[in-house]
C-alpha cells in the first residue's frame, strides 16, 4: 500500500461527532472519569482518617499518653492526608512543556518524586500508628508477634505499591527512550 493510499484511508476514518453540550460536560473535574475514581478513594481515606483523628483521644486513650506521642500520631495522619492530596493534584496535570518528550520527562520526574514521597509517607504513617498504640505497653510475646505481623503485612503492601509505581515509571521511561532513539531495530 502506498503512502498516498494510506493517507486517504486515514482521512476517511469514522468519527462520532459530539455535540457542544456533551463537550461542555467534559470540562469539569466532577465528570472526569479517572479523577472521579481517585477522588472517591481519596475522600474515603481522608474522611476515615479524620474521623479517627476526632475520636482517637477519648477512644484510644490519647489522654493517657504523653503529648509527644499524641503529636507523632497527629503528624503521621496529617502528612499522609497531605501526600494523598498532592497525588491527586499531580494526576490532574499531565501536560508540561512545549513538546511530548519534554512533557513526558517532566511528568516522569514528578512520578519518581511522588513514588518515593508516597512510600516514605506510608512508612511514617504506619510507624506513627505503631508508636501510638504500643507506647507504654508491656511487650509480651503476643504483642511482639503482633507488631512483627503488622510490620510484615505492611511491608508486603508497600512492596506491591512500589512495584506498581515502578512499572508505570518504567513504561513511561521506555516510551521516552523510544521517541528519542532512531537506531533501534525491533
Amino acid at each position: 500500500m502506498r503512502i498516498e493510499e494510506m493517507k486517504s484511508l486515514w482521512a476517511g476514518q469514522p468519527v462520532e461527532v459530539k455535540q457542544k453540550e456533551a463537550l461542555a460536560g467534559m470540562l469539569t473535574e466532577k465528570s472526569h472519569p479517572i479523577l472521579k475514581e481517585i477522588r472517591k478513594q481519596l475522600l474515603l481515606e481522608i474522611s476515615s482518617w479524620l474521623i479517627i483523628l476526632c475520636v482517637y483521644y477519648s477512644m484510644f486513650d490519647g489522654e493517657k499518653r504523653p503529648l509527644t506521642v499524641n503529636v507523632v500520631f497527629i503528624i503521621g495522619m496529617l502528612q499522609a492526608i497531605a501526600v494523598n492530596f498532592t497525588g491527586y493534584l499531580a494526576a490532574r496535570n499531565l501536560i508540561h512543556g512545549d513538546n511530548i518528550i519534554t512533557s513526558i520527562a517532566v511528568y516522569l520526574e514528578k512520578l519518581r518524586r511522588f513514588k518515593w514521597g508516597f512510600l516514605f509517607s506510608r512508612i511514617i504513617f504506619i510507624g506513627a500508628m505503631l508508636f501510638f498504640f504500643f507506647y507504654g505497653l508491656d511487650m509480651t510475646v503476643f504483642r511482639t508477634l503482633s507488631i512483627v505481623f503488622i510490620g510484615v503485612a505492611f511491608l508486603g503492601q508497600l512492596w506491591m505499591l512500589q512495584r506498581q509505581w515502578s512499572q508505570r515509571i518504567k513504561k513511561l521511561f521506555e516510551l521516552k527512550s523510544e521517541l528519542l532513539n532512531t537506531n533501534e531495530e525491533r
Binding site: M1, G12, K20, L23, L94, I95, I100
Partner: protein
Amino acid sequence: MKFIAGSINLTAHSRNSINTLAERMRNSMNEDQFLQLVSVHQGIIHKVCRLYRDTPADREDLFQEIVFQLWRSIDDFRGQSKTSTFIYRIALNTAIATFRNNQKKNVINYVDQVPEMSPENEDGALADRKDRLMAAIKMLEEGDRAIIALVLDEYSYREIGEIVGITENNVGVKVSRIKNKIRILLTNSYEN
C-alpha cells in the same frame, strides 16, 4: 530615512499590537469559544482515541481526559503553531501519559446493522482496508503510532519534530522505518 524608520516603527508597533491582540484573545478565550474549537477539531481526538484504546468505553474515557487536559492547557497556547497542531500535541501526550489496564478485555460490540459481507461491495472493501490500516498502526510501538498519525494527517517533518521534541532528521529516519513496518504488517494481514 525618516519614512523608513517610521515604517520600521510601524511594523514593530503592528507586530506588538497583533501579539497583544492574540494574547488578549488567548486570555479571554471563554468556554464557548473553546468548545467551538474542540468541536471543529474533534476528528483529531477521535483518531487518537482509536489509536491508543481498544474498547469504546476506554476511548470515551480518553476522549474526556483529552478535552479536560486541553481546557487546562489552553492558556499555554501562544498561537505560534496551528490550532490543530496544538490539539494533536495535547491529545497524543495525554493518550501516552495516562495509565490504563493493559489487560485485553473480551469485548463484544453490538451494532445496529448487519455488516456487508460481500467482497464486491465497494464500501465493505473500503471499510476493510481502513480497518486493516488501523489494525496495522495499532500494532506499532506507542511512539511510532504518534509519528505515523501525524504523517498521515499531512504534517511536515519540521512540525512533527516540534510536536514530539526531536530533530527533523530524526523524524525522517523514524518515518521511513515506520512505513516499512506498516507495509510488512499489511502484507502479513492480507496473506493470513
